[in-house]
Structure formats: C-alpha cells, structure tokens
Symmetry: C2
Subunit: 166 residues, 2 copies
Amino acid sequence: MKRTTFADWPCTVARTVDLIGDWWTPLVLREAFYGARRFEQFERVLGLSRNVLSQRLNRLTEEGLLERVRYQDRPPRDEYHLTDKGRDFFPVVVAMMRWGDRWLAPDGPPVVLHHETCDHDTHAEVVCAHCREPLRHREVSVELGPGFPDRLRAAALATGRFGELD
Amino acid sequence: MKRTTFADWPCTVARTVDLIGDWWTPLVLREAFYGARRFEQFERVLGLSRNVLSQRLNRLTEEGLLERVRYQDRPPRDEYHLTDKGRDFFPVVVAMMRWGDRWLAPDGPPVVLHHETCDHDTHAEVVCAHCREPLRHREVSVELGPGFPDRLRAAALATGRFGELD
C-alpha cells in the first residue's frame, strides 16, 4: 500500500513517523530493548508473520537503528543488535508506556520499569532540558528552528502556528 | 486493511500503538498541539484526504483524546478540542521530536520548543521520575506489574525478559 511520505517534512515528528513506517516497528524495538536479538526471539513473542518481521528488521537495519552481526557461519545466521541510534529510541518507547499506563491500564501497569542507577521502581517523565520541570502542552510554544527550509518560512509564519526564534 | 489488534496485550506500548492506529494520528495530534481545532485547519496543513482525516478525528474523539464542541448551529459545525487525555500525549510527541532532531535533522531542528515557564529554548528529556536522571536503556530493567494478567505470568517469567517486582 503506497502512502504519503513524511520524510521531507520540516517536522521531525513527521520524519520519525515516516521512518518507523508502521506500528509493528515500535514493538520490534520494544523486543530489542527486552533483549531480543535473533529472528526467532522476535517472532516468538510478537507472533507476526515472518515476512512482515523480516521487512521491519531490514528497515530498521537500513535506517541504522539495528545492525546485523553474524553469529553462525554454517548455515549463515545473523543477529540484530541495537546501535546508538536505536538505543536512543528507548525514551520514546517509555514515554509511550507512561501515557498508556495512565490512560489505558485500568488494572495498573502491566510492567514496571526499575532504574538500576538509583535502584527504584519508576516511570518516565518528560521534562524541559533546561529547568528539569515537566514539559506541559500549555507551557510550551514553538518557534522555527535553523533546520526549517527558507523557502517555506514565510508561509509557515503566516499560519500563525509558530513564533520566530529569539 | 485488517490488522492485528494490540489492545489486549499486557503492554501499554502495544495498547497505545493500537489506539493511535496509524501514523497520521500523531500528526493530527501535533496539529492540535499547534492550535488546530477546525476540520479545515487540520486539512490545510496536513494535506490528507477528507475521508482519512475524518476517520482519524472520529477515532481520537471516540477514544477521548479530543472532544467535539459545537461552534456554529446553521449549518452545524464542530471543533475538536484536546481533552486532558489528549493533552497528556504531548510528552510522547516531543520525545519523538527530540529523537528526530538528533538523528534525522542534518540541518538542525526545523522547529524549537520554547518553555514559557522558565523562558528558555529547550528540548524534551526523558528522565526517571524518582532520581530525575535520564532514563537510559542499559540502566533500566523491567518487572511484571500489578496489571499483568495472572494467567500469563508464569509464561512471561519463563521468557527471561522480566524480573519479579521487588
């Protein structure tokens, strides 16, 4: 099924959405975070078709979130290891988990994160990198940044959605 | 196109994925965060078909992330306002934006968040709710929580992906 590509949009939410491709992908990444590396490990837990799983693993490898590492020569078999780029997606997954725990888990969270560093059960909070307070929708405005294409700037400002950077 | 439903999975990432439904949905929410309320405002910026947009707005309304508010009687016209549940999805979107800004924006971030509360340009960070340090993949383990179904508990522990709650 052909769909709109968001890859060139001047919005990194759209670019992220474009890369991730469909909703199996965050779950494939979730399994990688849980320690899955081999095709069969992903397959067993996710229960998706080998064909779809194979496409998702290839896409994540092409985009540099996973890398193939040969673990057996005869017959040749590869594992999929998280790269820095893939590992850095962890905060997105735990932010989704936090939202789901609040709004979609009437019996309580199915799983709980344990932060080894401070040795406490915890959940994700999304905060301002500057003042470390939670980033709430009503307290945030959006400005055009350095990566916003010049040719779209005037039109974007005219929509009234953005301010200019200070 | 029929697809697997994740709504009953004992994982709130999967449930969130299931609710969001497809990748237009985060972008519809993004526009709501940018201030869009009327059908035409969403349509103009996103450039998706009226049919698809209408489905996504209905889904988000049914699921309680948006609510319909009548703004004109003849002919009847509704706006879509964010609810608390919808507004609470903002951290997920800005966590995605942060990842995209790091990995998919070679010319710099297209847009920049400004935190009105502390009056600084900023970006999202995902931290441990307890110690306020960044939640990194290597420093987090996962335990079965109170909402994990009893009938699946033994099988889940046998996969070796989870620890038991302290």
